[in-house]
Symmetry: C2
């Protein structure tokens, strides 16, 4: 048996799903594995009869689904974010095979306020680069190299199956000990870096976005806790304060 308090810390986010049937089938898929949290970012057509028809006994999941206008809003309180993809990406980002999740998931679940988000992209085009960069990890669903185009709800089914197996096979602790930073905390930290770097003209004029992306990647990999984030932001604020006095 899996501690349901652990399962409730997991959520599934579908970004701009265009077929309502896929939303319903995804709701059924996650409920089949004992999960309940579903969020939708700009669904093309929802609520919709076909979604409810395909959900079968998982209509409650659809009733409780949260709807957002932007992925960044859906992620605000997330403490750990996985972007899913059936394709290998060229971006050098930490990538997890779905069977190698254990250590990351285990430490991610230890915090009091853990909210672990699995993000699924559009049926045709997947997640944008910007959306992928909001994620702490990317998971490649191990489809056949010659036919990787997997149905959205089937991708949700595999990932939710793998997480269920993860949670029930390993010893996941349910005494939470720390406070994790949220997506929003990290965004504030990245923006703060960005602001200070602009102030001190640190950026390469020809390619300013490149540096911000590197900072973002660094913060995502670091996964700072609340205390560390406080120190870093204090440091940045102090730099700003000193610069202000100088001007």
């Amino acid at each position: 048996m899996i501690d349901s308090s652990l399962k409730n810390k997991i959520e599934f986010i579908l970004v701009e799903p265009s077929h309502p049937g896929n939303i319903g089938a995804s709701a059924r898929a996650i409920k089949n594995m004992g999960f309940k949290n579903l969020s939708l970012v700009q669904p093309k057509d929802f609520p919709n009869d076909d979604a409810y028809y395909r959900a079968k006994g998982a209509k409650d999941i659809l009733d409780d689904a949260k709807i957002y206008g932007e992925l960044s809003n859906a992620l605000e309180d997330s403490t750990l974010i996985f972007g899913t993809s059936a394709r290998a990406r060229t971006i050098p980002w930490p990538t997890k095979n779905s069977s190698e999740l254990t250590s990351v998931l285990k430490s991610g679940l230890q915090s009091n306020n853990a909210k672990i988000s699995f993000v699924f992209g559009r049926e045709i085009s997947g997640l944008s680069n910007e959306e992928l960069q909001m994620c702490d990890y990317h998971i490649k669903i191990p489809t056949d190299e010659e036919f990787s185009s997997i149905n959205l709800s089937h991708a949700v089914q595999i990932i939710s199956y793998v997480i269920k197996m993860e949670l029930q096979n390993k010893e996941y602790v349910s005494e939470f000990k720390s406070e994790s930073t949220t997506f929003q905390d990290n965004e504030y930290l990245i923006d703060h870096f960005d602001k200070v770097m602009k102030t001190i003209d640190f950026y390469d004029q020809e390619n300013p976005k490149q540096v911000k992306t590197r900072i973002r990647r660094l913060v995502k990999r670091l996964q700072p806790d609340k205390l560390e984030t406080g120190i870093l932001r204090g440091f940045l604020a102090k730099i700003e304060q000193v610069l202000n006095k100088k001007n």
Copy 2:
């Protein structure tokens, strides 16, 4: 990379699927995992546009799908048969969790003529008891106890994902060394036992089916090889011969 000769020894059988969309989605699901063999037993409506629409890039799997009137015909050359179910059954039959397949699959794949069948039941009612008794093993898809009603193509997706992971994570040998008995060989053996037992009035008059079921279960668990089957059938034939002479 998985040896494709191993993957080609795996087939997926859908018994009386009523929604053509599920057939198409199942074809896509198995191709996503690099498999290609799909068989259909009395599909309610096939070929069908919705099946082809849902198959997307897996239309070749549908074109090549084999269609049968009875499960026993589809299984004739099968050397190892798994029945899948989301429900726990009351029949005491060897049951495998989908994560415990390794040893059975490994030895099953070692024979020259290996043909390993995964059988999926009807959307509403699953497999009948008779069909389940044709299987060597039952696999329970580990759905949540409170909501086990999983979509057919999603069940196919999970099982095909698990087999793909199995085949690529373990050292599966591809030098085949023995000849496995087929489903049909075993049926002949069971029928032969049945015939002789009837001849010698072995059967409990009140419950004759019970004994045949026990023999069936015994043969399924034994998984005799060709030589052993030959010995057993020779023994049974000898009994018949001796009895005939007596009369």
